[in-house]
């Protein structure tokens, strides 16, 4: 027994030493490389703003840095407001914004920097309302969703929506939501409830857009929201109307582009003045097929896809 223990320790020690040496040897040349690369680079494109877009911006930046050597992109989040503020101060090249810039912000920026911010729509963020495939419902209105999700809402059962859900014996609506500081959560809450009302606690707060759809696909009683790119054959997306009596719109590309689907918003990037040089090249690349492919990959709606 004793001997075995000793041998075990020797092996563990050897592994630890190996791991450390790997880290040291493996890392140092890489660090050297990146230092060298950034020294050669003529320009760093500074990109700041929306938290909803920060993953997308990061993905673009990573891919773009991989295919070009003349520029590198520095991405940070902080919120759309932070991005615009930085644009007004002239400290960033591109501001990410999940809302349109306000007229007074536009004016401030022009006054402060002498250049008018130029707007680029780089993709769309559309949230679909998902239910299980067998749920006998196809349409829902925003006020109904607000009563399902809102604090002290009065719709807690499927029968409150006027449907007989035979696959859900408890009749209770199981609300699927997202963790309370995801951009998706924020946007959905604001679209439904405005800025003054909160969601009712007790929803299942899942950790990713994909998980939401996965769980709904296995749960007949559930309702949830997620990017429309995540649909599977186990779930269906509801058509949504802004107010009762108005037409219902399905979450699809046409309705999002026509701005008739109510839970969708364009994603903006703003540059200071007409973009030139590396900034122009970067924005052009984002709007190109390759850049838009990344938009789709991250669950947003790309511009150019048909």
């Amino acid at each position: 027994m004793r001997k075995n223990g000793l041998i075990d320790y020797t092996i563990i020690c050897a592994l630890v030493v190996l791991a450390f040496s790997y880290v040291i040897i493996g890392c140092s040349p890489k660090d050297g490389e990146s230092v060298a690369a950034s020294k050669v680079t003529a320009q760093v494109i500074k990109n700041k703003g929306s938290d909803t877009m920060v993953n997308l911006a990061q993905a673009w930046a990573e891919r773009y840095t991989g295919i070009t050597s003349s520029a590198s992109v520095e991405v940070s989040g902080g919120g759309s407001g932070t991005g615009v503020a930085a644009l007004i101060n002239g400290t960033v090249d591109i501001a990410n914004c999940s809302r349109q810039i306000k007229p007074e912000e536009l004016e401030q920026a022009t006054q402060n920097t002498g250049k008018a911010p130029q707007e680029f729509i780089v993709g769309y963020d559309a949230l679909a309302v998902y239910v299980h495939h067998d749920t006998p419902i196809d349409k829902i209105t925003i006020p109904q969703l607000a009563e399902i999700y809102g604090e002290d809402g009065n719709i807690t059962k499927w029968s409150d929506l006027g449907i007989m859900h035979t696959d859900c014996p408890s009749d209770r609506i199981i609300r699927i939501s997202r963790q309370s500081n995801s951009g998706t959560y924020f946007y959905f809450r604001e679209a439904l409830l405005g800025k003054t009302r909160d969601f009712e606690l007790g929803s299942l707060d899942l950790h990713g857009s994909k998980d939401v759809v996965e769980v709904i696909g296995r749960t007949p009683c559930a309702i949830g929201y997620s990017g429309m790119g995540y649909a599977t054959s186990h779930v269906k997306m509801l058509e949504v109307a802004t107010v009762p009596g108005e037409p219902y719109y399905a979450p699809n590309l046409e309705n999002v582009l026509a701005k008739t689907y109510p839970i969708a918003r364009p994603l903006y990037m703003y540059s200071l003045g007409e973009p030139t040089g590396e900034v122009k090249a970067y924005l052009d690349w984002i709007l190109s097929a390759e850049g838009q492919k990344i938009v789709e990959k991250l669950g947003f709606v790309p511009l150019a896809s048909k």
Partner: protein, 302 residues
């Protein structure tokens, strides 16, 4: 003796001194790390803990609205109850299975079977928690829906089963060591008195090994309290006062894991998450302290 030691100390080769210093540093490092981590967690949360946080609300309110635009509320009662209830449920499942398996492996099975068992149990311990979480999210979810006719399988029961499966290997291996440590003379004496195998276990081995068995159970419980990924995925992650094994809940650890990634550094919400970290530290500290006291008590009794 003293003189001898001093003399030899003067003659110690340099390499000996280096190795001794190194080993001493390794020993001290554990203490340094624990205090370092505590200091860091405390520093990040201290600003809000002493300036602004309503500690009464923090500990007794079930309303967890850290990102509300109109009315932020930081109540962790539901999360604390979630952590304790899922751990308790996990222990209810894991302790009988773990101790039973340990008794079987140590007392009843043949040496060959024992080796196989130990390898398989160690394999069970090596499964990453995210894999357990995934099993909970998919397989166990379906199973609970089918067996209990529940609307959704992401429940306390699901998380409890996953945690139980994760802590059973720990309980088995430590409990088995504790049983093995009981001298064979005890067994021989009991059998010589005509005790059956079961009587030997029940009357002699369990009382003799109770310190080690208790340590096994407490380490299993500690694993459950600290576990994050599996409970994040399997329990439904829902702010709810638990009302039964089929209610969906959220734990303290899962809250930190889910929210820390997307919160602005230094913000109130960020600091509250670190205060939850301090709370977890305190819970672990109290559990360890109780374990120490209990074990000491047992020692004094016997």
């Amino acid at each position: 003796m003293n003189i001898l030691r001093k003399k030899s100390a003067a003659n110690v080769p340099f390499s000996e001194t280096v190795i001794e210093t190194f080993i001493r540093l390794c020993g001290v490092s554990a203490i340094v790390f624990v205090f370092g981590i505590f200091f860091f967690v405390f520093r990040e949360g201290a600003g809000f803990l002493f300036g602004g946080l309503d500690l009464g609300q923090f500990l007794t309110s079930p309303e967890w609205y850290p990102t509300s635009l109109s009315n932020k509320r930081y109540g962790t009662l539901a999360l604390i109850l979630g952590t304790f209830s899922v751990t308790a449920l996990a222990m209810c499942i894991a302790v009988p299975f773990g101790l039973g398996a340990a008794i079987f492996v140590s007392e009843f099975c043949s040496p060959k079977l024992r080796e196989t068992f130990k390898i398989i149990i160690e394999l069970l311990a090596a499964i990453p928690s995210v894999v357990w979480g995934f099993i909970g999210l998919t397989l166990m979810n379906q199973l609970i829906i089918a067996v209990f006719n529940a609307p959704i399988g992401l429940t306390m029961l699901n998380g409890g089963i996953m945690l139980a499966l994760m802590s059973v290997p720990i309980i088995v291996s430590i409990a088995e060591d504790a049983l093995k440590a009981v001298p064979d003379s005890y067994r021989e004496a009991a059998e010589a008195l005509g005790a059956t195998r079961w009587q030997v276990v029940y009357r002699v081995l369990l009382p003799a090994a109770k310190n080690g068995l208790l340590a096994a159970v407490l380490l299993g419980a500690a694993r459950s309290i600290g576990e994050t990924m599996a409970v994040l995925m399997a329990t439904g992650h829902s702010v709810n006062i638990p009302s039964g094994p089929l209610s969906w809940i959220r734990t303290l650890t899962a809250t930190i894991a889910a929210e820390l990634g997307e919160v602005a550094r230094g913000a109130e919400h960020y600091q509250v998450l670190f205060i939850i970290g301090i709370l977890l530290f305190t819970i672990t500290f109290v559990v360890n302290l109780i374990a120490d006291l209990v074990i000491k008590g047992i020692r004094q009794d016997s």
